[in-house]
């Protein structure tokens, strides 16, 4: 399918480049509706591959790329379930999101995240599956999951560890702070900085260059360069589920969804 418009996102293919645009109010929170549409997107990769060189993922929302997992939906869906039902539901969601993120990570074309504004939690994890991150100078990155008594659950730690090493993971995780685009570029998370509002244009410029290379060589290089850390991803799902059973998590989720704090992602 070369073009699609759903409830939370849309994509359009043109001249070897497929652009996936996240567009769900207020800030592209990743919940069940976006997951289902992302599944639809990756299901089309085999058909797109022969004539696609680049996929660009960006956001149409003013405030940023993505605020991460839809915690409000998560809380509302599980609040009245038993502990065992909650755990089963969360594990199933994680298995599905990991399947989608692994597919994008290993996509047979080059993937670029064009990031502006907030890129937090699951949003950062989505950017991390891409081969290249282009960020405008107003972008901010964070892993605020510890304030919920959790770790990132969409593959963030293994992928950040793969790409940058453990020290930066610890900085983000143990402080919960958000870092700006300049810092993110300095540590190697962001490949290229763009002026405010220009990340998508810079990503398109990259795509124009990437298209010039031989697709077979490009795909072989990607496979060699970017192995998916399957074992660590499996461990992450198991640890997330183990932490999720603690009563403190439900209390923290409730506090978060009811919060009017300016920085609800901090404890």
């Amino acid at each position: 399918m070369k073009s699609f418009t759903g409830e939370t996102l849309r994509w359009n293919w043109n001249d070897g480049v497929v652009e996936l645009t996240l567009d769900r109010e207020p800030a592209n929170e990743i919940g069940t509706a976006m997951l289902a549409e992302l599944e639809k997107f990756v299901a089309g990769f085999d058909a797109l591959a022969p004539e696609t060189s680049v996929c660009i993922i960006s956001s149409a929302r003013k405030h940023g790329f993505s605020a991460g997992a839809d915690l409000r939906e998560t809380y509302e869906m599980i609040a009245f379930l038993s502990g065992a039902e909650r755990l089963a539901g969360v594990r199933q969601f994680l298995e599905r999101i990991h399947a989608v993120f692994n597919a994008i990570d290993a996509a047979p074309f080059v993937t670029i995240a064009a990031v502006h504004g907030i890129c937090f939690g699951g949003g950062l994890e989505l950017a991390l599956v891409c081969d290249i991150i282009v960020a405008d100078k107003m972008a901010r990155f964070a892993f605020p999951e510890l304030r919920l008594g959790l770790i990132p659950g969409f593959g963030g730690i293994p992928r950040l560890n793969r790409d940058l090493g453990n020290a930066f993971v610890r900085d983000l995780l143990f402080t919960g702070r958000s870092v700006n685009a300049t810092r993110a570029q300095a540590v190697g998370l962001v490949s290229q900085l763009a002026a405010e509002g220009e990340a998508l244009n810079v990503a398109r410029s990259n795509a124009g260059q990437i298209k010039k290379f031989d697709p077979y060589t490009r795909a072989a290089a990607k496979k060699f360069l970017k192995p998916i850390p399957h074992e660590e991803l499996r461990q992450e799902i198991n640890l997330f589920c183990e932490l999720f059973t603690r009563p403190a998590v439900m209390a923290a989720l409730k506090k978060f969804v009811e919060s009017t704090d300016a920085m609800p992602y901090l404890p």
């Binding site: 504004g117 907030i118 402080t175 700006n180």
Partner: protein, 80 residues
């Protein structure tokens, strides 16, 4: 090295410019959430603008709970 007064003026000017408030209408003791009419996502935007303007990193937890320009300026000043 900027003085507190210089930093204060730059913060007020930057806030007024980017959140479309009349230049000169902001004062150091103003509650910037109320005066600028911003929400939590826009507060992050302000944080990014301040970091880019002053070339510093201002960890979120150092400005958590801060709502007036004067305290915000003192946090910035300690990072200059």
């Amino acid at each position: 090295m900027r003085t507190m007064e210089q930093t204060t003026q730059e913060v007020l000017d930057l806030a007024a410019k980017h959140f479309q408030v009349a230049q000169g209408s902001l004062a150091p003791d103003d509650d910037f959430f109320k005066k600028l009419g911003i929400n939590s996502l826009q507060a992050l935007e302000l944080l990014s603008r301040l970091e880019n303007h002053f070339g510093i990193e201002l960890p979120d937890y150092e400005v958590q709970g801060v709502s007036d320009f004067r305290t915000l300026v003192s946090r910035i000043q300690s990072r200059l």
